[in-house]
């Protein structure tokens, strides 16, 4: 065993040193290739003019073709959703950009660089889907956002819609990786997607005249639902959920302020395109949530309703139907939300929710205090608080009253001893009181002593027994004891956890197997020498001849004597 251990340690040390050696070689190779690549590019740049145009085009197409072959090979080897697949997809993306840049500079007509970038992004998107590469999708989203930021397309409704449509093209990737239960990529994509949506709105804010808290709340709803949908096995979406909650309440709090609605009224160019897209996103988030996770319902529903409420309020204000109702509705909603969170914390012991509920109330108080002018929020909140306090007092007194009447009623019933249950309950209570009340015990002891003195000797023994023993057992129905479970929880081991047998055991097994084989071959050869098979195995078997056994009837000899 010691020799084996030494050998094993030596093997481990050997492999480690080999790995180090190879990793060093790999690092050197990477550095060397990079330097050589730079030198080649440098040299080509200085002689670029002398290379004919057809050769430049051939170079661009050749490198593109090589990367396409790489993608095809990765697909053929089923490398989708692996690190190799990711690498191949990223290299292909880089090659597409290089090829298009080569051609664009060679055949220069002055088109926008950003336009070419967008073309490249659209060309790499299918590869991201074919190889299930999250890195390529991230690259695509980054390029689209960069294009939108640099060209200012979100200024017009058409440009804004184009930006959203291009971003939405990356959406089905979520379903694809969810179907393959690729949790890590799902999480990465969800994070990147949500951040991208926020950046897109940032770009839109820069260009558009007005972006309201309505959009903010809708985005918060999207983030919240994405956070919930992300939690398939682990709580990856925890920060998303809380970020969404925070943003939703923030938006709702802003909608409680009349000054915020003043800006909505005064906005000249209202960005309905962005709002429509945001609501589409919200419904998409709702769909994903409904499909992914239906257990937790109330909390996400309440928060996801916020943008819809603010949306309806915005319609009221923009159309000049009502100006005070939105503020009042928002105030009531935020108050209800705070109560809900506190209830969650108190009833189910969720500390975070309790804190969050209290924080909502603090925010509300701060909003009332900070508001420079008289806000309906203060009025509504104070009214609700007063109503809640009055209701609580009423409820408390009513409960006390009911309890008092119930107790008196119960006392009366116990005195009359009407039913078996009440009698039993009374006896049980008495028993408990016997244990609890020492004075009663002393009294009982005194009584028994008196009785013992008065009774004759033969009865003294019976009376001197314990009161519990003297009383008959009143419990007629005894609960059945639960059967002891024989279930043993299975223990699952990974392939690495299962210990391999020793080499000696392997050798023994091999020896045994060899011996058995030898014996079998011996037996076969013996059987072959004794009886050679001459007939066909498919021949019909000869019928077995049986000896005839004649049976005699028990009445066969009857009547012989009667002759």
């Amino acid at each position: 065993m010691t020799a084996d251990n030494k050998k094993h340690k030596f093997e481990i040390a050997n492999t480690r040193s080999r790995t180090r050696f190879f990793s060093l070689y790999i690092i050197l190779a990477v550095i060397g290739i990079s330097v050589a690549g730079i030198a080649v590019i440098w040299g080509a740049a200085f002689t670029w003019y002398h290379i004919p145009i057809w050769a430049k085009m051939t170079i661009a197409l050749a490198i593109l073709f090589i990367s396409q072959v790489g993608v095809g090979t990765a697909m053929f080897q089923e490398r989708q959703g692996t690190w190799i697949g990711e690498g191949v997809a990223v290299v292909h993306c880089a090659v597409v950009f290089i090829s298009v840049t080569l051609l664009e500079t060679t055949f220069y007509i002055g088109s926008s660089v950003y336009f070419y970038m967008l073309v490249c992004a659209l060309l790499i998107l299918p590869v991201a889907y074919l190889l299930r590469s999250a890195a390529s999708i991230i690259g695509y989203v980054c390029v689209v956002l960069y294009w939108a930021a640099m060209t200012g397309v979100s200024y017009s409704s058409g440009g804004s819609l184009t930006m959203w449509i291009l971003l939405a093209l990356a959406g089905p990737f979520y379903t694809l990786i969810r179907e393959h239960h690729d949790e890590v990529r799902l999480t990465i994509f969800s994070w990147v997607g949500t951040i991208a949506v926020f950046i897109a709105f940032g770009i839109a804010v820069r260009e558009a005249q007005y972006i309201s808290f309505l959009l903010f709340s809708a985005l918060a709803g999207v983030v919240l639902l994405t956070g919930y949908a992300m939690d398939t096995r682990k709580a990856w979406g925890f920060p998303f959920r809380w970020l969404g909650r925070l943003a939703s309440v923030g938006a709702l709090l802003i909608s409680c302020m009349p000054a915020a609605w003043d800006s909505v009224i005064s906005a000249a160019g209202f960005q309905w395109a962005n709002i429509a897209v945001t609501f589409l996103l919200l419904f998409l988030g709702m769909g994903i949530y409904m499909k992914a996770l239906k257990r937790k319902c109330w909390s996400p529903t309440l928060y996801a309703l916020i943008p819809l409420v603010i949306g309806a309020e915005t319609v009221l204000v923009r159309n000049g139907i009502n100006f005070s109702l939105p503020v009042i509705v928002s105030s009531i909603y935020i108050f209800f939300l705070g109560i809900f969170e506190v209830f969650q914390g108190v009833r189910f012991g969720k500390t975070h929710h309790l804190r969050w509920g209290l924080a909502i109330f603090i925010f509300m108080g701060a909003a009332v205090l900070v508001g420079s002018h008289v806000s309906p929020l203060a009025m509504v909140v104070s009214l609700i608080v007063i109503c809640a306090v009055v209701w609580q007092f009423q409820h408390f007194f009513y409960k006390k009253k009911v309890l008092f009447f119930q107790q008196t009623h119960q006392n009366r019933r116990t005195k009359k001893d009407h039913t078996v249950t009440s009698v039993r309950q009374g006896i049980n209570k008495k028993r408990k009181n016997h244990h609890a009340d020492p004075t009663y015990k002393n009294d009982a002891a005194g009584i028994t002593e008196k009785k013992q003195k008065a009774l004759p000797d033969w009865m003294a023994g019976a009376v001197s027994r314990e009161p519990e023993a003297a009383l008959p057992h009143t419990e007629t129905v005894s609960p059945k004891e639960p059967a002891a479970s024989t279930f043993v929880a299975p223990v699952f081991h990974g392939p690495d956890q299962i210990p391999l047998p020793d080499k000696k055991i392997f050798a023994e097994i091999k020896k045994e197997a060899k011996g058995n084989k030898m014996e079998q071959t011996k037996k076969r050869s013996e059987a072959a020498t004794i009886k050679p098979v001459t007939s066909s195995p498919w021949k019909t078997p000869a019928p077995i001849k049986r000896k005839k056994q004649f049976t005699q009837s028990p009445w066969a000899k009857e009547g012989e004597s009667k002759k």
Binding site: Q68, Q80, F107, G110, S112, L123, P126, Y129, T151
Partner: protein, 224 residues
């Protein structure tokens, strides 16, 4: 996504069809970039426009020079003011000698039959828009680019451009009627050697020979 029992997914059996389609599209885009450039050169309308060449400096070698067009302001034809970096359309025409005439600029394309240039807004004020066109590169041998240093204020520098559907390609740059490549020190040396060889011939005839029949520049125009 299901469309009439046809599942469009990278996991379905149609993924190879999708891959082949992608390969075709990628090659087609590359081909289109080259074809468009060629098409503008062949089919585009020729214009001549006053320009100023600038030498590009970079860590890597460059095979082109930056071309700036000083006539970059015109009247804004729309009611609403343009935004910065917005893509606009500069309405153009040409006179009898082929020199470009800028008519105005708008956010909308001109009616069919009228020519235009794609440009981006650089500045706007008093109904005058300053624009920048995209085709600002001219490919030249780096060894022959030093002729730019000899260009003076009084020299007339004209770019020969081909325009089609708003896009343009610079065919050549002429300094006082002579191609920019021939203004370099290398070209002068070549001319001198050729002049030495043909010593009995007059110098003027040598210069004409260098220019070549296909590169006859436009006649001197007085550009303001």
């Amino acid at each position: 996504m299901k469309v009439m029992n046809f599942r469009i997914s990278p996991d379905s059996k149609y993924r190879w069809v999708l891959f082949i389609f992608l390969v075709i599209v990628q090659f087609s885009v590359c081909g289109y970039i080259a074809w468009r450039w060629h098409n503008i050169q062949v089919d585009g309308i020729p214009y001549q426009w006053k320009c100023i060449p600038r030498l590009e400096q970079s860590a890597f070698g460059t095979d082109y020079i930056r071309v700036v067009f000083p006539e970059d302001t015109t009247q804004w034809l729309d009611d609403t003011a343009p935004r910065l970096h917005e893509t606009i359309y500069v309405y153009i025409s040409r006179d009898d000698k082929g020199v470009i005439q800028i008519q105005g600029a708008s956010a909308h394309k001109p009616p069919v039959g009228e020519d235009y240039m794609n440009a981006s807004v650089v500045g706007y004020g008093d109904n005058i828009v300053q624009f920048m066109v995209g085709f600002g590169r001219y490919r030249i041998d780096p060894a022959k680019a030093d002729g730019i240093y000899d260009i003076g204020v009084s020299d007339s520098v004209i770019a020969s451009i081909r325009m089609k559907k708003g896009e343009g390609v610079i065919e050549g740059i002429f300094v006082n009627g002579m191609p920019l490549e021939f203004c370099s020190s290398e070209a002068e040396k070549t001319a001198e050697t050729l002049a030495g060889k043909n010593a009995d011939k007059p110098a003027a005839s040598v210069k004409t020979h260098i220019l070549g029949s296909a590169m006859v520049p436009p006649k001197q125009q007085k550009v303001e």
